[in-house]
């Protein structure tokens, strides 16, 4: 046993984040901790890593009871954590980042030769290929994560905690990461993986703890469980699988013809032609940053395209104002709920009103009607079961999932023929995700045309009737439900082609 946590309890104000949690890790083992957002899995790992102090309970590492005041204390006994958000110096090299805080010195200067050599050795020992002299700013996300891992290995960590490591990776990078994790375990390191992606859990773990509402509700050997059981344990009730009726597509409600966008001489969108018919959900699959955001902004009027046309319900709305495009029959769940989709400092009422500020009965002749706005907010809150204490509380006081539900409720209640859903369930728990997915399917069955953009391939695959794959601003493939598996999609998403494989 490399570490053991006994009866850990941690409360924030009135919220019990960890309630009598006990767990342990064996040498060379890959342990997963799964649970919905807010289940307490991050808190327990923050306690182990010295970022938080428990109210009560005991941490035993290497046979001795430990008391960590900060991460350095944890690091000193061999515990390292790969954070979700990387902390690297963009303008410095890989090697410099890895030795940061423990530099190899030659007198007052840094011994660059020895540094590079040492980094190279570690990299080879753990088969984590990197170029020690590459600049971080030139490294893709997958490599950056590798640097983070090497940083921890350089500090002689024996226990490595991964916090949602695959959240930012492409499908191919995820495969590489999982292989890395297996390799580390083979090399004798002990691994803790915090995640809510159950496929990954099943792919690498030896053992799994399931957490729910601050407690450990189950412990399973990976070989003796499956995704369905884990999901059920996480949510606390059996998951409804979506029963999706075959689509009854009607007329085309949303269409782009040869849409282009050039930014600073760079072609961000090239000749995008797509259409979404009434009664279907069309997904856009792609690795983030391949033009999805720009495409949606051009369609919704947030950005001016440099060529091509956009049609909403048959009306040419190319480069019209957001107002005109919304009036043509489009609603838009934006990709980032706090950047575009809401005013965190505004009240729920103010956030509920957005897009209807000039509409009766909410305003008439420029005068707003507080009563009607209150009613609207309450209706949206009830309709989507948003957990809120009052319609006058601030948006930022809601949890991420509830804020998202309010935004989804607002846009869906506009009841437009065309609905654009960007990352509709990013970073929210399974319960809220299910609710949002069901509403999307319901809207589809009611004859709405839904365009879905998501970096979660599973979300795209499970909801879409048709899928476009986008890569570097181009549509590189179009498939209908069931005609494509995620491996092929993943390949297209990173610029591969199917033809060559055959």
């Amino acid at each position: 046993m490399v570490f053991e946590m006994k009866h850990i309890t941690k409360t924030y104000d009135t919220v019990v984040a960890n309630d009598d949690v006990s767990l342990h890790l064996n040498r060379g083992e890959i342990l997963s901790i799964v649970g919905e957002n807010g289940a307490g899995k991050s808190t327990i790992m923050k306690i182990l890593y010295g970022l938080e102090k428990p109210d009560s309970g005991e941490i035993i590492v290497g046979g001795k009871t430990q008391r960590f005041n900060n991460p350095s204390d944890a690091m000193a006994v061999g515990i390292g954590m790969v954070q979700q958000h990387f902390m690297l110096f963009e303008q410095m090299t890989v090697a410099e980042n890895i030795v940061f805080k423990n530099e190899l010195k030659n007198g007052p200067f840094m011994d660059m030769n020895r540094t590079v050599e040492t980094v190279r050795q570690i990299s080879e020992r753990y088969e984590l290929k990197i170029d020690p002299l590459a600049r971080i700013s030139d490294c893709p996300v997958g490599l950056r994560q590798r640097v983070e891992i090497l940083k921890i290995l350089y500090q002689n960590a024996e226990i490595i905690i991964f916090d949602e490591p695959s959240a930012v990776l492409t499908p191919l990078e995820v495969e590489a990461l999982l292989e890395t994790i297996r390799g580390l375990a083979r090399a004798g390191k002990s691994i803790v993986l915090i995640t809510h992606k159950l496929q990954e859990v099943m792919a690498v773990s030896d053992r799994v703890y399931v957490m729910r509402q601050g407690r450990v509700v189950a412990e399973r050997m990976a070989a003796e469980t499956d995704i369905r059981e884990l999901a059920m344990l996480m949510v606390g009730h059996p998951l409804a699988s979506y029963e999706i009726d075959p689509p009854k597509p009607g007329e085309t409600l949303l269409e782009t013809q040869g849409l282009r966008l050039t930014e600073n001489g760079r072609e961000v969108l090239s000749d995008i032609s797509l259409h979404v018919n009434a009664g279907e959900i069309v997904g856009i699959a792609g690795v983030s940053g391949n033009g999805q955001s720009e495409l949606i902004r051009c369609i919704t009027g947030l950005e001016k395209s440099t060529g091509g046309r956009v049609l909403v319900c048959g009306r040419d709305v190319t480069n019209r104002s957001v107002r005109e495009i919304r009036d043509a029959g489009l609603a838009h769940i934006s990709e980032d709920r706090y950047v575009w989709g809401s005013a965190p400092e505004g009240t729920l009422e103010e956030n509920a009103l957005m897009a209807r500020q000039d509409e009766k009965p909410f305003s008439a002749g420029g005068i707003i009607r507080p009563g009607a706005i209150r009613e609207l907010a309450v209706r949206l809150i009830q309709d989507f079961n948003v957990k809120a204490s009052s319609p006058t509380q601030k948006m930022r006081e809601l949890s991420g999932g509830n804020a998202q539900k309010l935004i989804v409720a607002r846009e869906m209640s506009l009841d437009t023929p065309v609905l654009i859903c960007c990352e509709p369930t990013r970073g929210i728990d399974i319960g809220a995700m299910e609710a949002i997915h069901n509403r999307m399917l319901q809207r589809r069955d009611d004859g709405a045309a839904i365009l879905l953009v998501s970096s979660e391939l599973t979300e795209i695959m499970s909801l879409s009737d048709r899928i476009y794959v986008i890569f570097e601003g181009r549509i590189v493939g179009e498939f209908s439900r069931g005609s494509m598996d995620d491996r092929h999609l993943g390949l297209l998403m990173v610029g591969g082609s199917i033809g060559h494989e055959q």
């Binding site: 957001v322 919304r326 009103l353 305003s363 009052s390 006058t392």
Partner: protein, 366 residues
């Protein structure tokens, strides 16, 4: 129960917003007291004199309200713009041009007295609005930040006005040998905002209070108020919700300029009967107005109260100086400290705004 919680929330919110300004004012007066002690006077007596000199007699009170009038208007100009996230500081320039426009129209327009007053105020409002919108255009077209453009435009307005009253519009009856600031011709006696009644403050103050109420109404009860607030809270969200950012930019800045411009016209029509070189610049009305708006956290009614307080500080300070031989600078110190405290907050607000707006404007590229 839910209602009760709402009440508590509102109450807590009010306490929260009022605490910081109150503490700022309190500390400023305490530090002022230390200064008074150092020069060997009794601070309690001094402050007693100050309060008496500001509010103690009808004459004093009216003096305070008169001085408060342009400050209120300058404060409203700030409320208007800053609430929407435009940290414009051009109130001074707009007020100067407003004053000049009022002085010009009041002097030259050949229509009966009351119509001339109205025309002078309209001209002042228009001058302020256009000048304010010009800074908006610089931002819209060339990305010039408001802090820079408005501060520079203030100087331009002041020296342009100085040129006008020194050369083409110089009062023909002015004594060339007299050592005084240049000025435009004196308005006829019937072209003036009269006192509300004998011995009272002029009507400009009433219009200023009305402007406070109008602003409050705009903020709280109109869709314009909603749009401008959303634009200030999160410009990207406003854009996403179909609010025309450009239209709001010009509308908000125009209204802000109207307030400042009118403030300038009240000074001319209600007090000086002409434009005197430096009359707005040296008194710092617009800046005091900004302090008032900051003290009130951009609440129009709070701005009214804070403006009267700050005007009282200056008016009462003169009495204190006369009766107790305490230099007027003590008042400047107090106002300075208040400003310092409130500007700490100003920087925070401005930083937030710039960050949010840069994201909104650069949003397409980000």
């Amino acid at each position: 129960m839910n209602n009760e919680r709402n009440w508590r929330r509102t109450l807590l919110g009010i306490v929260d917003t009022v605490t910081q300004p109150l503490i700022a004012v309190l500390i400023s007066f305490l530090l002022g007291a230390v200064v008074i002690l150092v020069i060997g006077k009794n601070p309690l007596l001094a402050y007693g004199e100050m309060i008496r000199g500001a509010f103690g007699k009808q004459v004093y009170l009216m003096n305070t309200l008169k001085r408060a009038t342009p400050i209120i208007m300058g404060g409203l100009a700030v409320c208007m713009a800053w609430r929407s996230g435009y940290e414009a500081m051009g109130g001074e320039g707009q007020m100067i041009l407003g004053a000049v426009a009022a002085a010009l129209v009041g002097y030259y327009l050949p229509v009966p007295g009351w119509l001339r007053i109205l025309a002078a105020m309209l001209a002042a409002a228009a001058a302020g609005a256009l000048y304010s919108m010009f800074s908006g255009w610089l931002y819209d077209r060339f990305d010039v930040t408001f802090v820079i453009s408005t501060l520079m435009l203030n100087y331009i307005a002041n020296y342009f006005a100085a040129y006008l009253c020194n050369y083409p519009l110089r009062d023909p009856e002015a004594n060339v040998y007299q050592m005084q600031n240049a000025q435009t011709g004196k308005l006829p006696a019937d072209v003036a905002l009269p006192p509300i009644m004998k011995g009272w403050v002029h009507w400009g103050f009433v219009i200023a209070v009305a402007a406070v109420l109008v602003t409050w109404f705009l903020f709280k009860k109109t869709s314009f108020g909603y749009k401008s607030r959303m634009g200030g809270l999160n410009p990207r969200f406003a854009l996403y919700g179909g609010i025309d950012a450009r239209k709001m930019l010009y509308l908000v800045l125009a209204l802000s300029g109207v307030m400042a411009g009118l403030g300038g016209s009240f000074e001319v029509l209600g007090s000086k009967s002409r434009y005197v070189d430096q009359m707005i610049f040296s008194t710092g009305y617009a800046w005091t107005g900004m302090v008032a708006a900051l003290l009130a956290n951009m609440n129009p009614i709070g701005t009214l109260l804070a403006s009267i307080l700050l005007a009282g500080l200056a008016v009462g300070g003169s009495t204190m100086m006369l009766n107790m031989d305490i230099p007027l600078e003590v008042c400047n110190i107090i106002e300075g400290i208040i400003t310092l405290f409130m500007s700490a907050r100003m920087i925070r607000i401005a930083q937030g705004n710039i960050r949010r707006r840069r994201r909104a404007k650069g949003g397409e590229a980000a």
